[in-house]
Symmetry: C2
Subunit: 201 residues, 2 copies
Amino acid sequence: MKLIGTYFSPFSRRVAAALIALGIPYEHDDLNGYKDPERARQLNPVGKVPVLVLDSGEHLIDSAVILDYLDELVGTQRSLVPTAGEARRAMLQLAAISTTIYEQTTARDFEARRTQDCIQPNLIERYRLQTIGGLQALDAASSLQGLIRKAPLNLATISAVVAFEYAQMLHPDLDAAAIAPSLARVVLDLGNEPAFQQTRP
Amino acid sequence: MKLIGTYFSPFSRRVAAALIALGIPYEHDDLNGYKDPERARQLNPVGKVPVLVLDSGEHLIDSAVILDYLDELVGTQRSLVPTAGEARRAMLQLAAISTTIYEQTTARDFEARRTQDCIQPNLIERYRLQTIGGLQALDAASSLQGLIRKAPLNLATISAVVAFEYAQMLHPDLDAAAIAPSLARVVLDLGNEPAFQQTRP
């Protein structure tokens, strides 16, 4: 199995963290879709990473689809998402909140890099409020009894740790730890976990 | 059940189309998250539509999560996505290509509306190539034998019809029908289907 996608992409990083958490060995190809869009489009019609190349040669695209496949591969006893019901909905929604943080943090970074006259403050503010709302929602789910917790690793926790570290990296002024202190504690507890330690960009 | 989200949002529209295709009655609240971001954030911590309010009062966010729930609700005989294997992967990947077209078409529209000096041509070109690649991939799956076909409706077809009409609406210069003639034929065949006819923005 080969994972294509730089760990600077939180979408790629959460797949890598899931592979490590599930004990699935993989090769890694560090493609950055922004730096080499042509190669990214050759691997994926919409030119994004991650792409997972199965041993059969099949190419899988989209991190949510890849993660759904990994759960099927390892079976219901070890899967990162419950198979049904309210538990499944809660887990997938927390993961979706994290991927929205990935998107809006990236969008905010692109906006902030424009020349001063071109920056749209209303967009920056929209992304900021969406990121804060997302971090608060993840924080509310972060506790020993919550879905975001030290162990066992699940999709909500993996996606949230990656979201937190990504927001910290690209958006330090936001002070993610002040907004989400319980999540910050989980991130700290898991800092040396191979799933995160080996995938840090 | 109440679906919150304007049909101008392709993410909301694909959920509405799925509800109609599955014969699930729903109320509709036409919230536009860009026009009323405060209300959107009250309903969803990351301020996006769609939100599905269940009769129990539970709020479900994220179109992919909502669609996963609807499939569980109707059961495996009627679900819009196969439950496992290569068939499931293929269906989910085609749907993910469509949602990327939603995203990049929206991003391109926002970029194109900036004042002339602020438009970044490299971003416009990136979005254009991603949309073309996505439409070509959907087109290759559009035929009587493909996953994108007139009947029975499945998630790939619903998501693709919405992607095609959204790209046509926001991006007429792209000429989606010329890029994806087989998909255009499926869209034409399904034009009066209630799932699409009743949800057109």
